[in-house]
Symmetry: C2
Subunit: 695 residues, 2 copies
Amino acid sequence: MTRTTLLSVAVIGVMGLGLAGLAAGPVRADEGMWTFDSLPTAKIKADYGLDLDAKWLDRVRLSAVRLQGCSAAFVSPNGLILTNNHCIQGCTSALSSGGKTDYVKNGFRSVLREDELKCPGATAEVLLTITDVSEKVRTATAGLNGQAFVKARDGAMSASETEICGNKAGLRCQTISFYRGGQYKVYQFQRYTDVRLVFAPEFDIAFFGGDPDNFNFPRFDLDAAFLRAYQDGKPVQTKSYLPWSVQAPKAGDPTFVVGNPGSTERLLTVSQLETQRDLTIPVSQLQRSEYRGRLIEMARASPEARRIAGDALFGVENGFKVFYGRQLTLNDRAFMEAKRQEEADLKARVAADPALAAKIGDPWAEIAKAQRVIAENYLPFRQLETEAGGGSRLYGWARTLVRSAQQRAKPPEARSADYSDSRLAQTERALMAPNPVELDIEVLRLEHWLLKTREYLTVDHPGTRSLLGKESPEGLAASLVKTSSLADPAVRKALWDGGLEAVSASDDPMVQFVIATEGQGKALREMWETEVSGPVDRAAERIAQARFAVYGSSVYPDATFSLRLSYGKVAGWTYGGRTIDAFTTLGGTFDRATGSAPFALPQSWLDARSRLKSETVFNFVTTNDIIGGNSGSPVIDARGQVIGTAFDGNIHSLGGAYGYDGRLNRTVVVSTAAITEALRTVYGLEALARELTGK
Amino acid sequence: MTRTTLLSVAVIGVMGLGLAGLAAGPVRADEGMWTFDSLPTAKIKADYGLDLDAKWLDRVRLSAVRLQGCSAAFVSPNGLILTNNHCIQGCTSALSSGGKTDYVKNGFRSVLREDELKCPGATAEVLLTITDVSEKVRTATAGLNGQAFVKARDGAMSASETEICGNKAGLRCQTISFYRGGQYKVYQFQRYTDVRLVFAPEFDIAFFGGDPDNFNFPRFDLDAAFLRAYQDGKPVQTKSYLPWSVQAPKAGDPTFVVGNPGSTERLLTVSQLETQRDLTIPVSQLQRSEYRGRLIEMARASPEARRIAGDALFGVENGFKVFYGRQLTLNDRAFMEAKRQEEADLKARVAADPALAAKIGDPWAEIAKAQRVIAENYLPFRQLETEAGGGSRLYGWARTLVRSAQQRAKPPEARSADYSDSRLAQTERALMAPNPVELDIEVLRLEHWLLKTREYLTVDHPGTRSLLGKESPEGLAASLVKTSSLADPAVRKALWDGGLEAVSASDDPMVQFVIATEGQGKALREMWETEVSGPVDRAAERIAQARFAVYGSSVYPDATFSLRLSYGKVAGWTYGGRTIDAFTTLGGTFDRATGSAPFALPQSWLDARSRLKSETVFNFVTTNDIIGGNSGSPVIDARGQVIGTAFDGNIHSLGGAYGYDGRLNRTVVVSTAAITEALRTVYGLEALARELTGK
């Protein structure tokens, strides 16, 4: 392995990786989620006239914080962290106990350090080094396939992590694969496990506009929150942090977003995109929409029903909009045509290089062939395996117990990769977590799943018959939920500990139901792995290798929930004849408020209305290339100051899963200007404002 | 005009219309909904070895009966009519008053003629003559466009109808346009207005399998019913009727279906199909699915809620499946490729004929241009105009009152075509019909519409702002329904009679809401007529003319809810690796029953189980080309005997809206064999069985 410091790699950027003779990558303006060891500094200089030197880059990298599923940044020398409010909702929820201490609804304000509350289980990670271990992995896996390949690869990765992080407390290593196996890098993090809540606004202003405004702009959300990293009971003294700007940017100003985009699928082939467009997204959206309607109606029954169904509804509506945006992009003929051109271009370049062609073969044809298998088998696979149980926790626990018991009864070398000892340890922990179960939602999920299975597969499909027999979906769902004891963690623990013997002998109706029916799903999964995901994964690796061979690091890898930098500028956009301005103001929030959810403002804002500087920039949009996972990412100006925190993308940015479109994709940001004004004028948190601004 | 008798035309068939030199039409085996003055008798002879002579055809035509929205046939010399149970549900519903006399739920059995109950408002029509008036219409409309064209055309049609039908009682004339204005024919009918209910089975056996089995096969439905036509208080003595077969057919037997398919869109261009595939069907399906979920959940509240929501749900689920089937076909790459080929072929043939090319121009390009206007404007047009009100009756009445009042305030020549005096008379009748209003459903429909408008157009669209202002969708829907008096027909009558003055002065909140908001929908409709439907209709006519010029009557016209004959054979099909057999048996019904809706059998069937001949063919499938409107069509064997009544199509037949696929499209039929067995063994209706069989 070659251990390289980030300093030297950052300076090398695109130039030093032997790219002479490589094709110019097909990367458009402002596009890309760039790794810190391969930044397009030359392009940024050319497009924006900015020299991002090593000092700038190191400070930004060491200020960036990775939370669980989100991004953040240090914004003071005392370990203060800026992120989104929705990123810390797990924390505020866990700390709440209803009534006055409903920190989700009412927000949270601390005045003294002592008031700051530890978020249970929260971690914050800072990227220290990146080490290339690609050769090590390639050597260990040479000539291997299937499960043998997977185990050798995992072993080599594990060994590298141990070598780099050792057993040092506070360090964490993670091996990340880039370019679908084109590269393997060990990321070494500083890891803080004492992360405390400092400030959260009320839900009604953090998510003002709710689902109607979600993924849209103009927007009026104070989706910001503050945490603080502690070590040994004291705030971490952070040498690297982002200085705070009280000014909002102007249209056209360059902006940098540093965070952890979760995943993108920009290397999907045209045939794969067509499968999503024509089959997998439409089916899930139709079923999701019906489920959504059921939740909406269920919520009307009582305040308690509204609370329970409302929680579930939030996720369903957000998911609906994500896939709506993706579908919009996949239906865009110009977008698909551009993808066809890209694909044709890469294929032509491979064909023009006989050695490369011999190595790559025709992975596009292999993937297209797999799409035909998908077309024939997707509905049963979805209904009987991937969506089995419809999200019911009781079903999920039962299936985990049954399948884990079956696997644990085998010697470790005979098990599937998902059932290694380390994976089983994680599975057991998740199984025992005391997650409360809402019975009405459980019945709804099972019933909906059974109804849709019968509808989409038809009554006569063996899968339907196997699930229902002479039962009705309504009757079966209700009786399984009513009679199962799996909601009790002690019951689950006993079944886990008792292994296959206990599970097989269990008279729990849900366990029995799963035992009787999960086999068909398992058979479909095995077929799928053999005929679809196996061949597709291997073909996709060769496409990634072809792309890497042709374009090198001039193309960035798909997102991997690890640190990336994206560059762009503040700008609105035009679509369907309407031009959207890049900015909103605090004053505009009151114009939009109606007094009814989700356009009802918290009392604190209504009280502060006359004192707020109404022309303060509230939210703004930029051309930065981001995706889910970037929530909470600091938005940084050319001077390296933080000017906002990214909290959403517009509807077009959802197509960013497949490809970046600079005309339309936008990052949505809440400005530090508005956060400052709110802290001072709405919440009276002078000390916090002073810690940020130095005044 | 040329008045031609059907005798001579039927014999002429394809041969005599001067088709020498025309291209062989692109019509596949068993395809087509053929008019009686242009039957492909030569092809039928070639494919099936059958000579359909004038006697056969006349008897079949004069036995065929058109009901409102359905098809049927005379099956005895005493005016007995066979149709589907679902075709007479309006009648059984209107005659019921709950409890024992719920004829929908419990069915209806008459023993003597005196027991037969008149269906309110039901009519039965028999096709007597077809007269070609194409030249007359062309002369009257020469050189005219837009509204002037429409009025001249309607005038010429009206004059022809008066000439042919005069004022003779019992006759009705209707001018039908074929090939999108390629031909105009006056159809003259014998019209019966005293139609009485003779027999209907219970809902649970007529629609056994409910939504899960709807549009699917295997199927086990007794979707059959009997009516009787009366004149002057006595059963009509029908000289032409179809002899009844107690035998079921065998696989491969030729079958003929005679009925009134409602409408097809087989001349849509590829660009139009893409618009449906990518935009209009998906949007409606997503919104429909959410609405469906709300109804399902609403139905759980109480038995009364189940009844009310259940009625609405039936239509929604049927509609969902229709569009699901259409989407399936539009997503079929082979289907779309065949359409592209057809289109390319027709364009090439037009281009090869300079005179024709000069006349036709490039309607495909004009239609493609209109698709781009659709893409930009569809969502607002849908939400603010075509779907305005979401199906709420109160909203619909208000909008009818407002717009009719506006139009009636203008002199007749200045009104839109929809507001001619004769149209207004129909409108007024419909407005005054005492349709009961279910308030919960009204609120749901309005609320759903407002929520989806806000979601799909966004909060910032002027249309959304105009509808909602500071109201919430939930609040506005509830208050409009609660405070409007339009459910009272007397209130509606007063507003109609009071004209524009009364309407403008009305303080009914729904009327005020419509006055305040319908203008934007109206503006969109005008834009749509100018830039979309106007140009598309004119271009479509030229495509139809091109097609007619190239292929003549060797291609059949799109369905027009007028009498057609289709030919085929009894056959199952194979799809996705599964082969479906062509037949089900009475015995199979009991295997499928579960005791829970929709697989619960009526008591009469459970009681008769041991006495029924279980191997009797119950339902079967054929390759006949049918579409909605053909429900109730007699299925006729080579000898001219009726062997069943068509009541459904399989899921693939829904793509028949766009094109026939003989590998997959199937008609679903309930056999006369099963009907006979049921009448005798389940219902003990010997007299009725004897009237049919003669024994």
